[in-house]
């Protein structure tokens, strides 16, 4: 489903930062992959590259056999199949919750307003806040906003879901409600890539865990292997700190 082959990404702001160095990763259909690592390890950059929000300098990314870094690829078409959930929710502030989950269905999927509303309401039901359909994002708690953001991405009926630290901006008591929605998705067989520090979530639903540091993939393994018998010293040190 996702094929990342030897990608490089360097940022030139004030200093030269090598965000990704020779990163390769393969994700199967229906697989749940959790990417973790210390901040600045390039995990978010990797995720953003998968949705072409960042362009890569070298290498190849294939989403469902379509090459991303090719000028002939219609990137909007690929993105419509890949849902993304951001750390800062990024709900459209001038629209109600229902409009948030319908707008892309109408404008990109070309569904009728009626159909989009129906699908939107079903998804709001699924994430547990149908009663907020008429509210504006500013009237919602962080956890509710993030659940709407998930519903908004799901409304496009994507083949892949990307989560970029979806719980990092939430108050502790709201993390659970968002993780519950993500767990449900994982059990339903959605292909997922999650950048997260929630190790409990990783242990419970991840098929594989990718540990990154300084732009490189240090180790990939099943949760059991990573948590119980990590091969690399860097992984051990990181896990010792956060567990």
């Amino acid at each position: 489903m996702i094929d990342v082959k030897g990608i490089y990404k360097t940022f030139y702001s004030r200093h030269k930062v090598e965000a990704l160095v020779d990163v390769s990763l393969h994700v199967e259909k229906g697989e749940v992959v959790v990417i973790c690592g210390p901040s600045g390890s390039g995990k978010s950059t990797l995720l953003r590259c998968l949705n072409h929000l960042e362009t890569i300098d070298q290498g190849e990314i294939l989403i469902d056999t379509i090459l991303l870094n090719d000028s002939r690829t219609n990137i909007n078409k690929v993105r419509a199949e890949v849902g993304m959930v951001f750390q800062s929710f990024n709900l459209f502030a001038h629209m109600t919750v229902l409009e948030n989950v319908s707008i892309a269905q109408i404008k990109v999927r070309k569904r009728s307003r009626q159909e989009a509303t129906k699908i939107g309401m079903e998804l709001l039901e699924k994430v547990g806040i149908p009663e907020k359909a008429g509210s504006y994002p500013s009237q919602l708690s962080g956890g509710q906003q993030q659940r709407v953001a998930i519903a908004r991405a799901l409304a496009m009926q994507p083949k892949i879901m990307l989560f970029d630290e979806p719980t990092s901006a939430l108050d502790p008591e709201m993390i659970g409600e968002v993780l519950d929605v993500m767990k449900t998705l994982a059990r339903e067989g959605m292909t997922m890539c999650c950048v997260t520090h929630e190790m409990g979530f990783a242990r419970e639903v991840a098929d594989r865990i990718v540990f990154m540091d300084e732009g490189r993939i240090v180790e990939i393994g099943t949760p059991q292997q990573i948590f119980n018998e990590p091969r690399e010293d860097r992984t051990k040190a990181f896990l010792a700190q956060i567990l």
Binding site: N76, R79, A80, G83, S88, N90, H94, Y136, M156
Partner: protein, 327 residues
């Protein structure tokens, strides 16, 4: 004594004192103005002003020669009566449409009264006000269109639109509006055969466009970049994301500075008087030169501008309240 002291220091008493001071200052200003004008021996003739807003026109159209009516053509409020005399020479009479009493084929006799009476006509100040309003509204609409295109071009990452936009904005902001109006009238107007009305409207539009572009650019940049990323990640293309996600939010934010720009534009439209457009200020000057009632005329002109700008502020405040729903 204690009660008196309490009263002196109460919040209510202090507020009343401040109101009293305000009234005193205003009354003082009025008395001062009247006193100064008395000193320069100015005779106020406010009764002259209303007829420059509306006046009654006396109409008396009489037939000059015996003739036969060959055509009656209505053109709005006026009707043209065309008649032929016995030498087959055409004669024209202009009559208010509601007073027409002849039809084609009628014989007219010398001295016959075709129309008689009075009718209300808009005075110079009113026609000037209407022209100012027309110029301002057209320039605002055109200025927003130009500003939107330029603002988006300014944010473009490709060099051609970006540098064209920067060049245009700097050119307009770095030269006086009066000079721009002359250039549009004498140069652009000559080349493209524009009427002085079009030249004036275009000069003001391009002037406003440059400022609106900067306001729109700032508005778009003030929207968190996550909004654009979220829109693009849902598969929207750049124009869709701009149209449905970024611009509606930016518009809400730029409404107050935009309103300020529009109010400036209404006031700046007084400069197009120099290219023979008798808008409100020019109308005031023309009445002044013929009557020497400069004081009353320009107080009235100022009040009429205030009516325009104040209505616009009210409209914008109303819009702001409506858009505040999602805050």
């Amino acid at each position: 004594m204690e009660i008196f002291n309490d009263l002196l220091h109460s919040e209510r008493f202090r507020r009343s004192l401040s109101w009293a001071a305000l009234v005193l200052i205003i009354v003082g200003l009025i008395i001062g103005t009247v006193h100064t004008t008395n000193k320069v021996d100015y005779i106020w003739r406010w009764e002259q002003i209303p007829r420059y807003i509306f006046f009654q026109e006396t109409i008396e159209v009489t037939v000059e020669e015996d003739a036969t009516v060959t055509a009656v053509e209505r053109d709005g409020a006026d009707t043209y009566i065309i008649a032929l005399n016995f030498l087959d020479e055409e004669q024209y009479y202009t009559v208010p449409s509601h007073m027409v009493s002849v039809k084609t084929g009628d014989e007219l006799q010398r001295g016959q009264v075709l129309a008689e009476g009075r009718r209300w006509k808009p005075g110079l100040l009113l026609t000037g006000l209407i022209l100012t309003l027309e110029i301002s509204v057209l320039s605002i609409i055109l200025g927003v269109v130009i500003g939107l295109i330029t603002g988006l071009a300014r944010l473009s990452s490709s060099p051609a639109p970006k540098w064209l936009a920067i060049g245009y904005i700097e050119l307009i902001r770095g030269t006086p509006l009066l000079v721009q109006i002359y250039i549009f009238y004498f140069f652009v107007g000559q080349v493209f055969r524009l009427s002085n009305f079009m030249a004036g409207v275009l000069a003001l539009s391009f002037f406003a466009g440059a400022y609106v572009a900067e306001i729109i650019r700032a508005g778009i940049q003030s929207i968190h970049k996550g909004q654009m990323e979220a829109a693009r990640s849902l598969g929207m293309n750049y124009p869709q994301a701009m149209r449905y996600i970024i611009l509606p939010q930016a518009f809400k934010r730029i409404l107050p500075p935009l309103a300020g720009q529009f109010i400036s534009l209404i006031k700046d439209s007084s400069l197009v008087g120099v290219i023979a457009l008798v808008e409100l200020t020019r109308a005031g000057r023309e009445i002044g030169t013929s009557t020497f009632n400069y004081f009353e005329v320009f107080f009235t002109v100022a009040a009429l501008y205030l009516i325009l700008t104040f209505s616009l502020s009210m409209l914008v405040q109303f819009l702001e309240r409506r858009f505040a729903a999602s805050d």
